[in-house]
């Protein structure tokens, strides 16, 4: 496929078939450019999470080729893991560690250098915005606080590619806004690349430079939100999605 050289992720003809012949992702291709926030959007069951898990080296593709910064996610899985940071949709943290201990724990997995670890943790503290609550055990956190901590641990290690699966799912407005701001600030300050999924199309419209609309394992459309809205003569991405689905 025709991706420019300035890409972080290249997905070519990705297909994932689970047991019992369930085709979760069907011949999907897209690129994620360096320094952009790219969103996979679509309803539940569209194939977003499977796509992200394959890019994060957790699952393996049935067909197709995926590379991150030039590394193949199957053949060079360990190299890919060094440059990505993944936040699963249903992620948690070690309940009996404090928020700060958890950030330190994750930071130490990414670097042996003490200064670097301190830097990561400081970034994490700032991104989480949890203040003194970081000294409390994770088990005492609300869902929103936990998600903020997890977004912080994902972004603080300054990955080449941050993969965020439904980063604001189930959060109240205040926490969702905080998470979105953290993502924006990560891209701005670190020139990082973010690949995220969401079924909240309005959120994606605000956050992403480009989006791919997925449905039943296939990509129906791809491009900047504004361009897609213009192309399909819609006032928002939800309308674009409805038009695409009814026409597909």
């Amino acid at each position: 496929m025709g991706c420019s050289v300035n890409t972080t992720v290249v997905v070519e003809n990705l297909t994932k078939v689970y047991q019992r012949n369930i085709r979760a992702v069907d011949n999907v291709s897209f690129c994620v450019y360096r320094g952009e926030i790219f969103g996979l959007i679509g309803p539940n069951g569209a194939g977003k999470t499977t796509t992200l898990r394959i890019i994060a080296t957790i699952l393996q593709p049935t067909f197709g080729r995926i590379s991150v910064n030039g590394y193949d996610v199957v053949k060079d899985a360990s190299k890919v893991r060094r440059i990505i940071s993944f936040l699963p949709e249903e992620a948690g943290a070690y309940k009996y560690l404090t928020g700060l201990e958890f950030l330190e724990f994750v930071a130490k997995l990414y670097s042996k250098d003490r200064d670097k670890i301190r830097e990561y943790v400081n970034v994490g503290i700032k991104l989480s915005g949890l203040g003194n609550r970081l000294n409390d055990k994770v088990k005492t956190y609300s869902k929103g606080m936990l998600r903020r901590l997890l977004v912080a641990k994902t972004l603080m290690v300054q990955p080449k590619l941050a993969i965020l699966d439904e980063p604001t799912s189930g959060l109240d407005v205040v926490n969702a806004v905080h998470v979105r701001e953290a993502i924006k600030s990560f891209v701005k300050e670190n020139s990082g690349t973010v690949l995220l999924s969401s079924h909240n199309m309005l959120e994606v419209e605000y956050l992403c430079n480009r989006v791919a609309i997925m449905h039943k394992g296939r990509i129906l459309a791809i491009g900047p939100p504004r361009e897609l809205m213009e192309e399909y003569n819609a006032s928002n991405l939800e309308e674009v999605f409805v038009k695409l689905v009814s026409g597909s």
Binding site: Y18, I58, R81, A91
Partner: protein
């Protein structure tokens, strides 16, 4: 680096997690009382059965004089069934023992009565038929000797009266030299022999098994906690070796289990052995002897035993690890381990109750994990080198096999997709 990071995290999480504390302290304590109580009761029953069996004794009276007759009458008066052996071939004890329907044979030598009459020390040779190699059988040796010491005490009062001297001046006229007879071989020191059997059959495997069960529980719980705390998916995408996470959990589980092994060993001696020895003979007579048998493990068995135990540890923990990969949460992991690994403890008892005289039985037992650990000291005593080698290496082979499967699972997507019961919801 990541290995030690996970080790520290594991210790920290365990110390702070009440669920783990329950799994590590409360449940093991309950288990300890149940297991020790059960084993203690079973052993006591075995000993009581053995005491019943030793109610029939055979006597080969070569002396045929007044004091040998007194000994036979004494045994009869004790309520024992005494079978008198008549034979001309007194040298072939093995053949005599095979013919008689009694576990104990007393051979009263010529000159027995003469010696007693002349205040000279004399002895009775005691032979104990060893067949089942059970702990209960070991107590027959004790009982057989005890009849002699009772006779001694009786004789003491008779002689003291006859000669008009105080009892304390006439001591231990009849001594007993006891031998065991196993597979036509004379065992010179059956007490020592059964000490080794007891050590090999009960104490060591029990402690090792408890250690392994703990390690299995902890490993399974540790893996399940990662899933329950929803860290599993994140861990799989981290720039670390997946096996180092598994390794850290194994390491922590073993460290904690070793501490438990020490506590359990102490409890074993207090709770279990105390009760058993109370049934056998007075504790004060046993304590010194018990220390002696602790050092009586033949040194040539140790390499085989070590290989077997290392193999068993590898196998059991690998099985626990493999099973825990199926579990979605701590409760499922505990249930899997409890239902699958737990009943395997039954295998400990297999060699204690199975007749091991057949060669095929020996081979099969030496290939069954756990059972072969208990069986190994007996194999050493029976000098069956092929079965001994099989018992020492088979567990390692099973363990390596399971470990290879785990490695393959851990380093593939199967570790993520493997579930005990597939969720209805398919991944999106």
């Amino acid at each position: 680096m990541s290995f030690w990071l996970f080790v520290v995290k594991e210790f920290k999480s365990m110390a702070r997690d009440p669920k783990m504390l329950i799994a590590m302290i409360v449940i093991p304590l309950i288990l300890m009382f149940i297991v020790y109580g059960f084993i203690g009761q079973a052993t006591i029953q075995q000993i009581q059965q053995a005491i019943k069996e030793s109610g029939i004794v055979a006597v080969l009276d070569i002396d045929k004089d007044v004091y040998s007759s007194m000994f036979i009458s004494f045994l009869n008066n004790l309520g024992l069934i005494v079978k008198i052996v008549e034979t001309n071939d007194v040298a072939n004890i093995s053949s005599i023992m095979n013919r008689i329907d009694a576990k104990v044979l007393y051979v009263i030598p010529r000159g027995f009565s003469f010696n007693i009459s002349n205040s000279l020390q004399t002895s009775i040779s005691t032979y104990v038929k060893i067949e089942s190699l059970t702990i209960g059988e070991g107590s027959i040796v004790e009982v057989a000797n005890r009849y002699i010491s009772l006779f001694n005490r009786f004789l003491l009062t008779v002689l003291a009266k006859e000669k008009g001297v105080p009892e304390q001046f006439v001591a231990g006229i009849v001594s007993s030299s006891t031998r065991g007879l196993l597979a036509s071989k004379i065992i010179e020191d059956p007490q020592m022999f059964f000490g080794i059997i007891t050590m090999g059959s009960l104490f060591i495997p029990l402690i090792i098994l408890l250690l392994l069960l703990f390690a299995a529980q902890l490993v399974a719980t540790g893996i399940a906690i990662e899933k329950e705390e929803k860290m599993f998916e994140t861990l799989l995408s981290l720039p670390i070796s997946r096996m180092s996470v598994i390794g850290a959990k194994l390491f922590v589980s073993f460290m904690i289990s070793i501490v438990y092994m020490i506590i359990y060993s102490l409890a074993l001696f207090q709770l279990l052995l105390g009760r058993i020895f109370e049934v056998m003979i007075p504790v004060e007579q046993v304590s010194g002897y018990n220390i002696m048998v602790a050092y009586a493990m033949p040194s040539e068995v140790i390499p085989y035993m070590l290989a077997n135990i290392i193999g068993l540890a590898l196998f059991m923990v690998s099985i626990a690890l493999l099973l825990s990969l199926f579990a979605e949460d701590v409760r499922t992991a505990q249930a899997i381990i409890g239902n699958i690994i737990g009943p395997s403890v039954i295998l400990v008892y297999l060699p204690m109750f199975i007749d091991v005289s057949s060669h095929s039985v020996k081979t099969i037992l030496s290939l069954i994990p756990i059972a072969n650990t208990v069986f190994l000291p007996k194999l050493a005593l029976l000098q069956d080198s092929i079965s001994l080698i099989l018992a020492s290496i088979s567990n390692i082979i099973y363990g390596i096999f399971v470990f290879i499967i785990i490695r393959r699972i851990v380093n593939s997507e199967t570790i993520f997709t493997l579930k005990l019961f597939r969720r209805k919801k398919t991944p999106t």
